[in-house]
Amino acid sequence: MSDQFQGIEPMVYQSKINVPYSWWAGDTATRFFVALRDEKKITATKCGACGKVFLPPRKVCPLCFTENAEWVNISDEGTVLTFSVARRQLAAIPQDRKVPVIWCLIKLDGADTAMLHYLDEIKPEDVTIGMRVKAVFSEKRKGTIRDISHFKPVK
């Protein structure tokens, strides 16, 4: 920094970007969330060309690029592919969840791709890749991914 600024304290302005959003889920996601909310059912779409079953459901198969017209029911049980445990209360973590928070990728039986969600009713040290887990639904469901409260271990 050149001499002309010597002795001048740098000013710092605090601010926030407040750009409210509402994201259209689209018909495909809407159908998924309605089933989740009203029937506690997990559903997915299947590609007519390659047969792959996508969770979260996709309107179009990203690999074949054709529309997925078929819906299938997915089990609420599956296998943990990998996981993550937050120990520091990072800013993105929702207010109602205190560390340690465990997220995992779960391959539910019937789906070819895995979904992201919380793992609970277990100590972080006991989480293993390959363990079996089952969805626990929230009492109050609003049609969001947190209509599933978390996944819990299955014997």
Partner: protein, 381 residues
């Protein structure tokens, strides 16, 4: 295809917080350094590509903040959003498409000005994933677990990367965090998200880098030795983590192999002399080296332990200290390019590696390395 070279680079020091400087101040510094390095004036620059992120900068049309300071006032200009290696890729195509001969590429960000957890959380899909509250760190922790489970990698193995890179930073005056640490120091540091300790993670820093790319017809016209762009490529994997195999990086393998093909490199393990890669987290240095074909899958840690990737080893990796020693997001990949350029010119000063004819620079976009950009640079044409 015609060829192009990098004929000037300029980097600001990477710092935790450049509280006295705006984005434009940083750009002004980096651009002037690059021009001086090249022996050019701003009038010798035909067009400008700036690289920035609206999210990281907290402003829509973030390129506006640096346009004038980057000399774009009466010039053809455009902006790439993403890592600097992508901005430079576009700048490269602009030097070869017949409209311009020289492109100035800049990349900047001021991590000190934002809450990075919220910024990276915004990369998650707003309908299915975002409200679960993950961010870049917890996402990469998830990848690290998958990678460790697949390969048997231990926390001590990853920690060695941190020891090496922070140690290398002592010889790089521009690095933010030179640190003399041991593997136990890394393991004892705060666990942020299993298995990533604080010292397994790069900081989020402030910095700006500028490079000047020139078409071969003018590459030797100015004062600097040109460093030739032999090959480059980029590739993006699926978006949802559940669609990917997080323990691998198909997109990096594809980008690297493509870049080698364009460069005519048949045996990268033998032909690459120095690597500057995107080590946002310790495990990434190992996984990326393997997917680039510079180590067999699951074997990089052993080679690291044997000293292969040390500054005085047979294949130095991140002699600059890498991102672990200072991480200005967005600019990060451009710094990697600039560092390799300096190495190949023999201008890297104290952190100069001995053998430096062909180098690899690497940048990443997205969560858990969803997208990769690989550059092969060479001292010789």
């Amino acid at each position: 295809m015609d060829r192009a070279a990098i004929i000037g680079v300029g980097m600001t020091k990477v710092e935790k917080s450049k509280v006295r400087e705006t984005f434009a101040d940083m750009a002004w510094e980096a651009v002037n350094k690059a021009l001086a390095d090249a022996g050019m004036t701003i009038d010798d620059i035909d067009n400008v590509v700036t690289t920035s992120s609206d999210f990281w900068d907290g402003r829509t049309i973030s390129c506006m903040a640096v346009g004038d300071a980057s000399g774009a006032a009466d010039k053809n200009v455009s902006c790439v959003e993403g890592d600097g290696t992508y901005g430079a890729f576009y700048g490269y195509t602009r030097a070869l498409s017949g409209s311009y001969k020289t492109t100035l590429v800049t990349g900047h960000s001021k991590g000190s000005q934002c809450v990075s957890s919220l910024i990276t959380n915004a990369s998650f899909d707003p309908i299915y994933d975002r409200e679960l509250g993950m961010d870049m760190i917890t996402a990469c922790a998830m990848q690290a677990n998958a990678y460790m489970n697949r390969t048997g990698l231990r926390p001590e193995d990853m920690a060695m990367v941190s020891v090496k890179n922070h140690g290398n930073a002592f010889k790089n005056p521009l690095a933010q965090l030179p640190m003399n640490i041991t593997v136990p120091d890394v393991i004892k540091s705060e666990m942020i998200a299993d298995p990533l300790h604080k010292l397994d993670c790069s900081p989020v820093s402030d910095g700006c880098c500028a490079v000047i790319i020139a078409h071969e017809s003018v590459a030797t016209k100015f004062k600097q030795k040109p460093v030739w762009i032999r090959g480059l490529s980029f590739c993006t994997d699926s978006f949802f983590f559940g669609d990917r195999d997080l323990a691998r990086s198909n997109a990096l393998a594809e980008a690297a192999n493509n870049a080698y093909k364009i460069a005519g490199i048949k045996d990268p393990k033998k032909e690459i002399d120095i690597v500057e890669l995107y080590d946002a987290f310790t495990y990434q240095e190992l996984l990326w080296l393997e997917e680039m074909g510079l180590a067999d899958y699951g074997k990089a840690a052993k080679l690291l332990e044997a000293g292969k990737f040390n500054m005085d080893g047979p294949l130095p990796v991140n002699p600059s200290g890498g991102l672990l020693a200072g991480h200005p997001v967005i600019a990060a990949g451009l710094y990697r390019i600039a560092e390799v350029v300096m190495q190949l010119r023999g201008d890297a000063g104290e952190h100069q590696v001995k053998k430096a004819k062909t180098g690899l620079a690497h940048g990443v976009n997205g969560l858990c390395g969803q997208s990769h950009c690989v550059w092969i640079l060479d001292k010789e044409r």
